[in-house]
């Protein structure tokens, strides 16, 4: 079969279209995931910030916290509250980061597949050109 570059251009367009569609979908999914993660992280921060004064006032009503009283129970409870907030916020942030990393990885893998397909296409072109060249020599030799 004679070498026909247009066929490879058609295949290249198909590969590019497939990669672009996949990458776009992945990017949009990444956006949505990041948005949801950031919202959750923000809500978490807000909830802890709102809960902290209530915690302080609760210990104050029980006389465990006042300008002149600083009980160990209050201090420990406030530290536990802070540790809990730190843990939940950090985990939320890590989940958000990992989600972003996963989307990035998927995008890179999609790009790798796209590049592999293009390289296969170029190799196929070279092989077909070599085969056609052999046919040319065969025809010219009258065989």
């Amino acid at each position: 079969m004679a070498y026909d570059p247009s066929q490879y251009e058609a295949q290249r367009r198909g590969l590019m279209q497939n990669y672009a569609a996949t990458n776009a979908t992945n990017a949009y999914s990444n956006f949505l995931s990041r948005q949801r993660g950031q919202r959750g992280l923000s809500d978490l921060q807000t909830s802890f910030q709102k809960a902290a004064p209530q915690l302080v006032s609760g210990y104050g009503r029980r006389g465990l916290n006042s300008p002149n009283v600083r009980s160990g129970i209050f201090t420990r409870a406030l530290a536990d509250f802070a540790k809990n907030a730190t843990t939940q916020q950090s985990q939320a942030q890590q989940e958000l980061d990992q989600s972003q990393n996963l989307f990035d990885l998927q995008q890179k893998q999609s790009l790798e597949g796209y590049n592999q397909a293009l390289q296969d296409l170029e190799a196929q072109k070279a092989r077909e050109m070599a085969a056609d060249a052999q046919s040319i020599l065969q025809y010219r030799a009258g065989m």
């Binding site: 921060q45 802890f48 910030q49 902290a52 302080v56 916290n65 600083r70 209050f74 201090t75 406030l78 530290a79 509250f81 802070a82 540790k83 907030a85 730190t86 843990t87 916020q89 950090s90 985990q91 942030q93 890590q94 958000l96 980061d97 990992q98 972003q100 990393n101 990035d104 990885l105 890179k108 893998q109 790009l111 790798e112 590049n115 592999q116 293009l118 390289q119 170029e122 190799a123 072109k125 070279a126 092989r127 077909e128 050109m129 070599a130 056609d132 060249a133 052999q134 040319i136 020599l137 065969q138 025809y139 010219r140 030799a141 009258g142 065989m143």
Partner: protein
């Protein structure tokens, strides 16, 4: 001087006279016996097929037998039944009879004796034999001359030259065909090699310019762990070391997760790089194999062309040698035919094999043996 002889079947349509059996009658009515198995003066056959009933001499075409019969006094009667002679022949016979003094006109008697008739016959035969002998000798001399001066080989040089020219032309055509084939193979190889190199060079350029390593520089995103209530805790004096430890632990957990991701990316990155190197090497090997294959293919085609050339030359040389051999055979056959003809005529060819002298007892060209001729001569001298 045309003498026509018609067969009996032709008599009616020719409207000629019919001579009775055993006679040849001239216009004057003179009967003259005419031998058979001979040729007349005009070279026509005189085998009239006469069949005498009482003294039949068979095989009258054999001059030896006829001569023997004459010598034995067994003068055959000639059966001329069924023979039609036109007036030209009759006139000729009449002239002959007149010259011999044995003829006459009508039923007039001329006093011709049997001995005179025999003498006339012998004279006639002698002249005939002499004429035939002269013709044969002339022909033999022509053959001998042709043999000695080589004119029988006329045209041989032209034929051999044509054969040589055919050989040269054939060799030239074969060589031209071979050169064309080699040229086409060379041009085809050049184009094919160029195309092959172009294809694989383009592939290598593409691979070099487009390395498939999407993980290059990829790093995991790791957020910084922090205490969102740090200021709040500090205000209340609750920023204890365990809270700080918790923050550090979360930071460490995040970094460990990021590191794991980076390790994964590094593995993928190295794999992609190895794949790229492997693919580039594959392209180079394929290009090398394709170029080598083209070279081998070219050598194979050139070898085939050379073999075809050699086969063509062999076939041509076979044909040339066959033609030369046939021409040689033809020459030898022509030579041998001349030798055989001259030998048959009793002529010895100087320096030629197969030539013989006239053998004793052999027959001469007129069909009469020398012995018979000698006896005939003796009889003539006796009259």
């Amino acid at each position: 001087m045309a003498v026509k002889i018609y067969k009996t079947a032709d008599r009616a349509e020719q409207g000629q006279k019919t001579v009775p059996t055993g006679q040849l009658r001239s216009t004057s009515g003179q009967v003259t016996p005419t031998p058979t198995g001979q040729t007349d003066l005009a070279g026509y056959s005189t085998n009239y097929g006469y069949q005498p009933a009482d003294r039949l001499v068979t095989n009258m075409g054999n001059s030896a037998a006829r001569s023997a019969a004459v010598l034995a006094g067994n003068n055959p009667a000639f059966d001329t039944s069924g023979i039609t002679i036109d007036m030209g022949l009759q006139n000729q016979l009449a002239a002959l009879q007149s010259a011999l003094g044995v003829g006459g006109s009508g039923s007039k008697k001329t006093g011709l004796t049997t001995g005179d008739a025999r003498m006339a016959e012998l004279k006639y035969k002698k002249e005939q034999d002499a004429a035939a002998l002269a013709r044969q000798q002339a022909a033999n001399q022509a053959l001998l001359d042709s043999f000695q001066n080589g004119t029988y080989l006329a045209g041989n040089e032209d034929i051999m030259a044509l054969i040589n020219q055919m050989q040269q032309t054939g060799e030239g055509n074969i060589d031209t065909q071979y050169q064309n084939a080699i040229g086409n193979i060379g041009q085809g190889y050049d184009v094919a090699s160029q195309q092959t190199n172009l294809g694989y060079q383009n592939l290598q350029d593409y691979l070099n310019q487009n390395p498939n390593n999407p993980y290059q520089g990829m790093q995991a995103t790791v957020g910084t762990a922090s205490n969102p209530l740090e200021q709040f805790l500090t205000g209340y004096g609750a920023m204890t070391p365990d809270v700080q430890g918790q923050v550090a632990a979360e930071q460490l957990a995040g970094q460990q997760g990021g590191q794991a991701f980076n390790d994964l990316v590094n593995i993928l990155n190295k794999q992609a790089q190895q794949g790229d190197i492997s693919r580039l090497a594959e392209a180079k090997m394929a290009g090398n194999m394709a170029s080598t294959g083209l070279g081998q293919q070219r050598a194979g085609y050139e070898s085939q062309a050379a073999n075809q050339k050699q086969s063509g030359i062999n076939a041509l040389m076979g044909q040339i040698q066959q033609a030369q051999l046939q021409e040689k055979i033809r020459q030898q056959q022509a030579k041998q035919q001349i030798i055989d003809a001259l030998t048959q005529a009793g002529i010895k060819i100087p320096g030629a094999t197969g030539g013989t002298d006239t053998g004793q007892g052999g027959q001469t060209d007129n069909g009469l043996s020398p012995d018979i001729l000698a006896q005939l001569a003796a009889r003539r001298s006796g009259f």
